[in-house]
Symmetry: C2
Amino acid sequence: MTFGHDATGLRSETVRRANLSAIVTELHLHGGLTRSELVARTGLTRGAIRGLIRELTAAELVAEQPSRQRGVPGRPSPVVLPRGDRAVVLALEIAVDSLAAAIVGLGGEVQRLVRTDRPRGHLEPDAIVDDLRRLARPLLAQVGADDLLIGAGMAVVGVVRSDDGLVHTAPNLGWTDVPLAGMVARALGVRAPVVVANEADLGGLAEHRRGAARGFDDVLYISGEVGVGGGIIAGGRPLAGASGYAGEVGHLPVNPAGTRCRCGSTGCWETEVGERAILARARANLRGGGRAMDRVLEDAAAGSPAAVDALRITGEWLGIGLAGLVNVLNPRLVVLGGLIGRIHPFVAGEVERAIATRTLSPARRDLRVVPAALGIDAPLLGAAEHAFEPLLADPATWVSPQDRALQLRSA
Amino acid sequence: MTFGHDATGLRSETVRRANLSAIVTELHLHGGLTRSELVARTGLTRGAIRGLIRELTAAELVAEQPSRQRGVPGRPSPVVLPRGDRAVVLALEIAVDSLAAAIVGLGGEVQRLVRTDRPRGHLEPDAIVDDLRRLARPLLAQVGADDLLIGAGMAVVGVVRSDDGLVHTAPNLGWTDVPLAGMVARALGVRAPVVVANEADLGGLAEHRRGAARGFDDVLYISGEVGVGGGIIAGGRPLAGASGYAGEVGHLPVNPAGTRCRCGSTGCWETEVGERAILARARANLRGGGRAMDRVLEDAAAGSPAAVDALRITGEWLGIGLAGLVNVLNPRLVVLGGLIGRIHPFVAGEVERAIATRTLSPARRDLRVVPAALGIDAPLLGAAEHAFEPLLADPATWVSPQDRALQLRSA
């Protein structure tokens, strides 16, 4: 294929693709926008926007509707909307206590979401993939043959290689080196690509795009259940690290004189602020899982000294690790999700004190610590965002039929 | 001012500026390149490159020379060179034990560099700025009236706000909230902008562009003298944090049962691996400074058990903090500079052991730990890179005379 050139010196096909990407990304993140708003947000000319919208409309990625704005004089400006009814992704999650699946449309609307309890403990990868297939099948059946299934995104409680979705380790599942992306792609029988990432990384991505961290460029998202994970947004972009393993904040050594961690090290942050540490301090059943934890939080709310004390000590360790991460990363916003978000109301004082005494004063000046907004579904929603990435980066593949055929063949 | 539009939908002036930036950045980072190499590296067309080189040549930012390539048949392709003789920056540094100044040309060549010892201890900001002015004056006198002084960059051992070069705290200097950028600009009497940043951040930038980390996208640079600092490169870009304070790895809490830190916290990494910790473990004079430290390293090299032991314990703590940072950031390369680089040969075993036992196995799979390449001058060279940023980002300002006049007026 040959491309034309234009006066700017860039191949015009390169420029067209970048412009389509800018428009689809804006619409996905912000929902409906008028052409004037698109001009302002993308820096493109009105004429260029007109042509690109025409292409995207023909591909059924966007649609124009009369504006519903009332009370503004003059002809109403039509609104360009992402077609979440036509372009969708499948999102999947393997959490500690549950499995989940959702269909999410372009623009971020969740069209259907199912979550089922999963017994804790180690299960064969094949068995979990089979459960996921059963969960996802009715959702996929709703996606019409003419609809665009952009891809499938998957969140998993484990350390995942970004290149190919290999799960290196997932202690909660007892997994080592499981090629999850390929297994799920085969089980679902979809031709769209399947991408897999760590649940905390995806939770951070979702909170950044759709939740508590929207509009912030430098964010630290911390979430915990059994272990503790983190998702880092730096300069507006997810910090992946060299191979996608960044954000393993649960394995920051905070107490070298402490207890042994599942990872083989000693005194990792999660040995002090993870579920097991809290249950042990509260003298609760260490094998009681989520229910035992619920009871500790209820007891603390009712003023039980043992539970309150257990959380207070946990809060001190939570503050120590957070302070270190604030010094290293200088985020504007810390978002607490999962178990860490649930204990935060009980330990906000301890966390505040640690930040006041253990961070460098300029780094804490404009810092805020807030609870996550998306709750338990944050990683699942992040998996959907992850699956939309190829479309946002290069919508041209879905706009031009011959390009699309290539895309499907290579998938 | 109005700009034309072209078929791509981007304002053509925006595109021209981006293209000039791409070319000047490539030449600055890689030195001389043929037009064909520029085509390959920038994705621009040959015709566009020709026009842009003409503009840059007229502005004396680049020059073309016949290639010296021998043994290749055919007409030699001319090489486009950055004109480091015409476009320069002034770099300055306030280190713990010294002050330094340099003139660095576009392309990175150091044309002149001076460094003088500085007595340790607290000095009034005015006095240090005056010393810097005396150091820089003869260097600035060499810059001709027709040369382009792009700006001045400055490295300082302190926590610096990126917006305006305010030094929030610099414990080695006894400073709090010193508006250093403005003071230096006034003292030097230059109209070019003065930018200030933390010395470890700039050391990391220099090692990434010109030193041991060249070509790596995910890098952790650690340097120490009295305190310990870090510079993080993530996804090819410096990680600045929300306000420029990121990288304060010396204040990662690694030993909550440890000793009090100058920052007010307890058990920060620098209390275990900084100069004072090493001198204390070796029972050396705590006020002996760099000379006492030299002696500890000489003693260790000679096999003195006290010195070897002091370094061994330091190495264990060095490994603990490094392991935590590897888990959080997943760098491909760790570069050790300053005092940390000097002790590394004595403690490489301890560091390796900590990485083997305290990092998640996938994160360490492709990890390398190497000494810094640029030695004591890394922060100074990073300050030069920092000062070149406005030129690399938008050379058009220096290409078009009216834009340049505006630039100077606003400086």
